[in-house]
Amino acid sequence: MTAEPLLQVRGLATWFETPRGIAKVLDGLDLDVGRGEIVGLVGESGSGKSVTAYSVVRLVRPPGSVVAGRVLFEGRDLLSLPEGQMRHVRGKEISMIFQDPRGYLDPVARVGNVLNEIYRTHEQASRKEAKARALELLRAVGLPAPERVYRAYPHELSGGMAQRAMIALALACSPKLLIADEPTTALDVTIQIQIVRLLAELRTQLDLSILLITHNLSVVAEVCDRVAVMYAGEVVENGAAREIFESPRHPYTVGLLRARPRIGTVEEKLADIPGRVPDLLELPAGCRFHPRCFLADDRCRHEAPGLRPLMPDHVSRCHYAERVQEDAA
């Protein structure tokens, strides 16, 4: 994947006005999604991962706004496109799925009708052609009875089926990039793995790129090629998934990986991360993670670290990235 990435986010800043001041939810974010890649964007609540997604598709609503940066999609800066063209990008080139599919599906429209409408308006398909393509797509996302789902209203679908229907709608116009915001979080364990697998299959079949936003590191371990870890509005580490899991180079990533209760190992005590996520209006000076960090020293309290390359494809926002491994042991 040496070609130019499909999506390049550079210096993205999205701020929210609050009664207490301006919350810099994102402040200079860089992120790439390569063609055919599944990139995991991982972080805890309030880290800014969903705001990143909304900023990319320009759906941030007041009191929030994108104040700086570039979002290059196939070389074009989406942030400077007129709204009319942006609308064309959304859905046709970039589409999104969410945590709660039933909250985003029209409750009074049959799934098939929505799909039909997409094909008839965007692709000028005939009625018959639209229906055939709709059924084909419902089958492609693994719905066992496509004819039944075609005629169904969202409330008649289970959570897993609704998420598959949502994926079908998102893929109707063959987008190049799918942004999936916590797509499996509301689902049961056995259904979660089905959806994760489906995303991996669709990537191969449809040559799709996926930005998978999740708080669940194990979901990332299951399908992602690359991982970007976010903390308090910043990417703190970014690299190949294998690298990140096997030799994490940021203390926060180390902490997240160890805090997971895993089924393969039994520890007497889980390694938790002390303290809590900082308030974006009262960010600590220096490194944003230093109050919770096992490596923090004077330098970390005063000097904010930048993202540093450690290897060709691995960056970390830590003054002591080289030491993280030994000191964590």
């Binding site: 805890e44 609540s45 066992p144 289970s158 959570g159 897993g160 089926m161 049961d188 364990v189 056995t190 259904i191 979660q192 793995i193 089905q194 994760v196 697998r197 708080h215 669940n216 590191l217 194990s218 979901v219 371990a221 299951e222 992602c224 998934a241 294998r242 899991f245 096997e246 902490g255 997240l256 805090a259 997971r260 209760p261 895993r262 089924i263 393969g264 190992t265 039994v266 520890e267 005590k269 889980l270 390694a271 938790d272 991360i273 002390p274 809590r276 996520v277």
Partner: protein
């Protein structure tokens, strides 16, 4: 088990519902029996709609069971008047999933914690205030938190308050209904560690309801797996993870995402959707998703011992159609 603190016998909870205009009976909990020994942590595992939370609510009689018996410390819980339950309620408490919804936003932490103490006449005035300070310390908060309101606390701190409230009456048994599911990973670990420490310090028994098998492995002594209102397998934790017998338990374990990308492997991903126990057929409820299902699975099937302390509800296991689980599937 004579030292059983909780005995649940053939518990049934049915709801009469209408589905598309048709009357039906939802068998939310359908003949659940188990015991918990003093000091034990038992995990009740299942997916949404499996009946695990309803079981907890029936134990507390926050839902009225349709049939069955619940005994706490040898005393009947079912079939008693609400007023006569009060002394029992002091000794059985519950912590819910969402600490934000289960705290009164207009009440300070101190007031929230003082209420159960005063309601059960455990202490008053200065003694009650001292007890609040003690409880806060016990769950890792500071005495100063008593003056705060829920919105001034983080999610993890709110859950600590809920735990402190549950402990205010010195209970022996605490039901934990997905207590960490709404929390971030780093905070979840803090709360799980806290629950572990509390159990060691103050002699608690836990019934831990969760869908997260990682949490189960970490915390539970014994596991009950529920599917569509019934317990389908019961075993000590290590046994369940090393030798899962019921096809549903195997499917659950196979569904857990890998710990690291280097462990990616081809696994049989369970097919289909969870069974909804609406007017259920008499046979095995998992048969529709089970790779080993056969005609014999249509006959009623009971939970039966497969090994010492290991129960399973599976006709195919006993007729040797369901094979021994592959060890490598679970090895770390």
């Amino acid at each position: 088990m004579s030292d059983a603190i909780l005995q649940v016998d053939d518990l049934v909870k049915e709801y009469r519902v209408r589905v598309g205009g048709r009357r039906a009976v939802l068998h939310a909990v359908d003949g659940v029996s188990f015991e918990i020994a003093r000091g034990e942590t038992v995990a009740l595992v299942g997916e949404s709609g499996s009946g695990k939370s309803t079981t907890a609510l029936c134990i507390l009689r926050l839902e009225e069971p349709t049939r069955g018996r619940v005994r706490f410390d040898g005393e009947e819980v079912t079939g008693r008047s609400a007023a006569s339950l009060r002394p029992l309620r002091r000794r059985v408490q519950i912590v819910f999933q969402d600490p934000t919804e289960s705290l009164n936003p207009r009440r300070s932490v101190g007031d929230t914690l003082r209420e159960p103490i005063e309601w059960h006449h455990l202490a008053e005035g200065a003694a009650a205030r001292a007890r609040v300070g003690e409880l806060l310390e016990l769950v890792g908060l500071q005495p100063g938190h008593a003056r705060r309101y829920p919105h001034q606390l983080s999610g993890g701190q709110r859950q600590r308050v809920c735990i402190a409230r549950a402990l205010a009456t010195n209970p022996s048994l605490v039901l934990l209904d997905e207590p960490t599911s709404a929390l971030d990973v780093s905070v979840q670990a803090q709360i799980l560690n806290l629950l572990n420490e509390l159990q060691r310090e103050i002699d608690l028994t836990y019934l831990f309801i969760t869908h997260d098998l990682g949490v189960v492995r970490h915390l539970a002594d014994r596991v009950l797996v529920m599917y569509a209102g019934q317990i389908v397998e019961a075993a000590p934790t290590a046994t369940l993870f090393e030798r899962p017998l019921h096809p549903y338990t195997r499917a659950l374990l196979d569904s857990v995402p890998v710990d690291s990308p280097s462990e990616r492997r081809l696994r049989a991903v369970p097919k289909g959707e969870p069974y909804s126990p609406l007017d259920p057929a008499p046979g095995c409820r998992f048969a529709g998703r089970c790779p080993w299902a056969a005609e014999e699975c249509e006959a009623p099937v009971e939970l039966a011992p497969a090994a010492d302390g290991h129960l399973v509800r599976c006709t195919g296991w006993f007729s040797r159609r369901v094979p021994e689980p592959r060890r490598e599937a679970i090895a770390s």
